[in-house]
Symmetry: C2
Subunit: 537 residues, 2 copies
């Protein structure tokens, strides 16, 4: 056992240290808080989701790209929702390598003595897959943009999908939330057309169906930030900070309800824990108009009806008009693609947290319920989100590049599927070859090799505890379908005993051991093993 002693960013082993610590400080094998291991069952759901949805993305012409998990912090920027303090949200650290600081046009920055300014740049683990996409797109066009050859109207079209883990350092971890989780994104960069926003929603709906979520178990909700901003502007809320504060409160609807929203808009409220949340100090009549949004729209309305309702009740201005006209184009595109209100609805209260959204926003909510460990009925809520972010690439290129896309929360959806009793055709484990006799290993090897050559998964039991019970409990844990037994007597007869483990697990009501054995065990000729297993699998 070695002891570890840390000093700054370097660490050393076997370094002398205070006696007390040397005696007491230990290495406990464990994961970092908020991180987790994924077992084969959860992995099979995770990859079922990724494969099914990726196929849909490909159907719409998206290509598979990957970017690193680590990026220069300044390239990613900081666009996390719900993080009021800067130290939350992102895992960042200094690059061990010192590198030149660059100017905006890519030259090395020099100090007054003409020395290159060196720095250990900050690196960040990606907190989503959208900011790295902006970097990827911008990196490929940066030289053109420096030369002045890039304009919004000339932005190349780029459609990619990508999946992988993202990292969030949330200081307070809610149950079921993790600091490493998987996303499955698709995005279209270089188009400002609402038709692409519509297509994005269609893809989300088609993906949910491909994954096995039945119609009616989920809804794609769509809104337009421009509608919300326009509406707030009619109420005199024009300042960007104030607008963001109001949107953040509206976004809490699922957690705090209409009354909570009203409280936070006006005089503040006291939450369940007794903590006082200060209010924005808005007058009650304005706040009433805002909370009025929540009563006005139901899932029974058609998309055009929702648009009409907003027009009637939310006042008038250019921003609002523009937002509604985009929603209208989204509705028409969805209709010609064949996606009706049973799958995709407008919800004028939808905010979506990400600060970088500039227009339409989307969300997939599941209404499936599950019973939590305390016996309460719970909804999983949002499993996908997305929206238009026309400003994200501009940050890196100084040219506005319209973009839109969405992300499936793979782990959230996997949890939903497993919690609500969805089960993939759970793949069986290998045929287990029981080890009776070390001297017969060559025969065991040949049996296993024969099965594998026929495409049947087979494992010779190599554990150190060779008791039959141990071997069979190992096989049960791995959901093995059959166990093969071969002793000297059997070898002499040219047969093996095949035990049907699946049947054995099912048939428990037969009291007579001999009868049970007869049902579950068969003698099979050595040359017929593959055929027998294949027929009974």
């Amino acid at each position: 056992m070695r002891f570890v002693y840390f000093t700054d960013n370097l660490f050393f082993f076997n370094t002398p240290q205070p006696d007390m610590e040397r005696k007491q400080r230990g290495i406990v094998p464990r994961k970092i808080k908020g991180f987790r291991d994924i077992d084969p069952g959860l992995n099979s759901i995770r990859w079922h989701i990724i494969r099914s949805a990726s196929e849909v993305y490909k159907l719409y012409g998206f290509e598979h790209w990957d970017t690193p998990a680590l990026e220069y912090a300044e390239n990613l920027g900081k666009y996390l929702p719900d993080t009021d303090t800067v130290e939350e949200g992102v895992y960042s650290f200094k690059n061990p390598e010192a590198e030149p600081v660059l100017t905006a046009d890519g030259r090395e920055l020099r100090d007054e003595w003409d020395h290159v300014v060196m720095e250990n740049h900050f690196l960040s683990l990606r907190y989503d897959l959208t900011a790295p996409l902006a970097r990827l797109y911008a990196e490929n066009l940066w030289h053109e943009s420096l030369k002045g050859n890039l304009a919004t109207s000339k932005a190349p079209l780029f459609r990619r999908y990508q999946y992988g883990p993202v990292y969030r350092f949330e200081a307070k971890l809610d149950p079921g939330r993790f600091r490493e989780f998987w996303q499955l994104d698709f995005d279209t960069v270089g188009s400002g057309s609402p038709a692409v926003d519509a297509e994005t929603c269609a893809i989300l709906a088609a993906s949910m169906e491909a994954i096995g979520m039945p119609k009616g178990s989920f809804l794609v909700k769509v809104n337009n930030r421009k509608v919300l901003k326009g509406f707030l502007a009619t109420l005199g809320i024009l300042d960007e900070n104030r607008e963001q504060s109001v949107l953040r409160i509206i976004d809490k609807f699922d957690k705090i309800g209409v009354e909570g929203i009203f409280g936070e808009l006006v005089n503040g409220r006291t939450d369940e824990s007794g903590a006082v949340i200060p209010g924005l100090g808005m007058d009650a009549s304005t706040a009433k108009k805002i909370t009025g949004l929540f009563g006005m729209f139901t899932a029974l309305q058609s998309r055009p009806e929702t648009i009409e309702n907003i027009k009637k009740t939310c006042g008038h201005n250019d921003m609002l008009e523009e937002g509604l006209s985009e929603l209208s184009e989204i509705d028409q595109t969805l209709r010609s693609l064949g996606f009706g209100e049973d799958l995709i609805l407008f919800d004028p209260t939808l905010v979506r947290g990400m600060a970088y959204y500039t227009g339409p926003v989307f969300e997939v909510v599941s209404n499936l319920q599950y019973t939590d460990e305390k016996g309460r009925q719970r909804k999983v809520g949002s499993v996908c989100g997305g929206g238009r972010y026309d400003g994200l690439v501009e940050r890196l290129l100084n040219v506005k590049i319209p973009a839109t896309g969405a992300s499936i929360g793979v782990d959230r959806l996997a949890e939903l599927l497993s919690l609500t009793g969805w089960s993939a055709k759970s793949p069986h484990g290998p045929v287990i070859v029981v080890v009776f006799d070390e001297n017969m290993m060559p025969a065991y090897n040949k049996i296993a090799a024969g099965l594998r050559n026929a495409g049947i998964s087979a494992e010779i039991y190599y554990g150190m505890q060779r008791g039959l019970k141990k071997q069979l409990s190992y096989a049960d844990k791995k959901n093995c379908p059959f166990a093969i037994f071969l002793g000297e007597d059997e070898l002499a007869k040219g047969v093996v005993t095949v035990k049907n483990l699946r049947l054995g697990r099912e048939i428990t009501e037969i009291a007579d051991k001999e009868e049970w054995k007869k049902k579950v065990q068969s003698e099979v000729g050595l040359e017929n093993i593959v055929a027998y297993i294949r027929d009974n699998l």
Copy 2:
């Protein structure tokens, strides 16, 4: 454009900063040095490798697990090859969250005033998938081991495979080396049997074949550290540090050859760049015996012949005997599994860098050659490695747990496959629906939806530059097989024009434009589009 200013582990936007820097410091969109983006072509090779080999792993009874990319640094330990200085090798940083320091039995460490000692623990990006496996296995058994219920003979059997990126901070990056790369591992924990080492080699060979490497294009090389250590002991090299130094030099054979090894063992040598590498100061006759290892064995020998040769020439001791007896069992198991010397050979000079290997070691080398950018013939060399590491879990559990496994270097192998001209059945892109007229979007949508419903990938061109040339060059870049054209006249006639883009790319020798058009373009009825595309795809 925002400016970023860093201070320690937190970073702030829009913070005031010196005027010069504010004007000059820029955000340049780029990847961290040593990191890269993976395009659709490379991704398709990467996933071809992962899918093919995973299927083989499953055939042998391995299950799919995942662990986090980030772990407590002390849990991973530090087992990198070729890193003489501690600051190299691993990306580590302090957890933003302060947590209690734990004692070896898991209690919170308290100071002299009985306060819990808090620390921001060091976190590391995993540098391989083996150290996290040891943590996973140890974590699940740790409570049992504390209670004293764990013994080597009772170690549970655990067989898992895992793939994903790993991270190495190499200060000097050789060309073609990356700081983020993918590995595809399978391991058996809880068995000390050489039969499992043999199976590991068989799986490596079978995986290479499944990936599409023809027999003869690769070799699995096997050695046993015990043979090397035993041989060095017969030469009087018993000190562990000295032994490690000698092994490290032997491991450089591919780079420095026999003469280089001799030099580094004895008086040192001068390398190509003129740098002086000091020698170990060994006497020349001992060094000759060591370099003699390299002449003695050829790829034409059978595995038993190699064992006999070692017996004859390398002296005698228990360690050496044990190592040879294990190699002998590996040979016999391989033979009964049907893996001969055309796939798997013994090589007594094989070291493998990882410090944690304790017995048999494996490597897959490719003899495929490629021509590099300077026109030189190069071999890719090692694409997989592995070995037995009976001490790695012990570090965390204080109980010896035998384990063995191997890792496919996914990116290295992908590079090999693409460099040597291997090409996956490269998937075609979507059928592109050309946008002539904004007003006809509903018709375009219906055509695309019809194709997708038939499982054919289809994309409406949503780029902002609508010129026909732009649209077709976009389609060519994505390897689109067909383009569909629909204007008002055609809609009135109920037809579209389908252009066979693949054929168009192939047929370049026809000078007559009309003739070329006739070959490449067809008028197809709106109701027949799906059938036509499907028949011609």
